[in-house]
Amino acid sequence: MPPALLRELGWTIIKKAALLFAFVTVAFLILSGLSACAVDVYAVGGWNFTVDSSCLVGGAGSNLIDSFESKLDATVINITGTGGSGDAWQVQVRKSSVSQLQGVVLYVKRTGDGSGSGTVHGGSSYVAVETSDTDFFEGSGDRTDITVQYKVSGISIKIPPGTYSTVITFTVVDR
């Protein structure tokens, strides 16, 4: 093969490879970018409460009540940025491992469907929140004002006075 033809063929391959590389890079960035902001979860609210002598079942000589519940809408969750009512997602929940107390269990429950074009289901019974992601509820499309209630059980008189807190993290996974 003549050297000139070889050089021309080489240039052609290099140009195509460069074009392909550019295309792949752009495609990756666009798709990755889309994925990073595909579905968002926004949780507003929280819960704090005090355990004192008014929480005893029957005054002196009695123990604390079994569990403490927040109001029905202690946290409101919005799911936005979906690709439409058919875009399925799942919300998972976990807690930080800070201030973990022996025997104390935190639960979370979905108390409202919210509104929007999509659907929501699951999570209407209390789910124990662990330090790793646990399935909470799922749905599709944008949904706003999904209400969430908390419950804490296992607080006994043996827990020393003090303030305890944990961070609850809701994660939405596009499916």
Binding site: F28, A36, Y42, T50, S53, G61, F68, P161, T163, T169
Partner: protein, 169 residues
């Protein structure tokens, strides 16, 4: 032709990588749940003792003391170094002593034994750690003091019990 095949392969791979990214897309939002456990120190005395009467004696001896163990107390505390103190609202006659003995909860605390009540708080149970207990016995004793029988008298005393820190009065 090879270049086109390579292009298609790489394009497919890029699409797959992108789609994988979409499939695994996630976002998080956090909330705080916190609670405060306040100091809980509850003590209740159940019932009032029957009247204590000194009316019996054996000739040649001081009259017999009278006792009552019909009352109890209940306690709930999450403190780690608690004690129970007791006092009466006014002083007893010099020739009479009102004494009290509180059993400790079965799992914690130490009784101070029989303590003669005065208008000053005195420890009757110490070393109490977190506990929930009820129906713990209280023993009252009214006894003559000194070498001669007490002067006939009557009175009502209010006994005040306090669950407090071991370091406090």
């Amino acid at each position: 032709m090879k270049t086109r095949k390579l292009s298609m392969t790489m394009l497919t791979m890029a699409m797959l990588v992108g789609l994988y990214g979409i499939a695994q897309a996630s976002n998080t939002s956090s909330q705080s749940v916190s609670y405060e456990v306040a100091n809980i120190n509850e003590i209740d005395m159940i019932g009032n003792p029957n009247p204590l009467v000194i009316d019996t004696a054996l000739a040649g001896y001081q009259p017999y003391a009278d006792t009552d163990n019909s009352t109890t107390y209940s306690i709930t505390t999450n403190g780690s170094t608690k004690k129970i103190t007791a006092k009466i609202d006014s002083a007893m006659p010099e020739d009479l002593a009102l004494r009290i003995l509180l059993d400790p909860p079965s799992t914690t605390g130490t009784s101070a034994g029989e303590v003669t009540l005065t208008i000053t708080e005195q420890t009757v149970v110490s070393g109490i750690s977190p506990v929930v207990a009820k129906n713990i016995k209280i023993l009252y004793t009214l006894a003559p003091v000194g070498d001669t029988p007490p002067t006939p008298t009557s009175g009502i005393k209010t006994v005040t019990f306090t669950l407090t820190d071991a370091g406090g009065q």
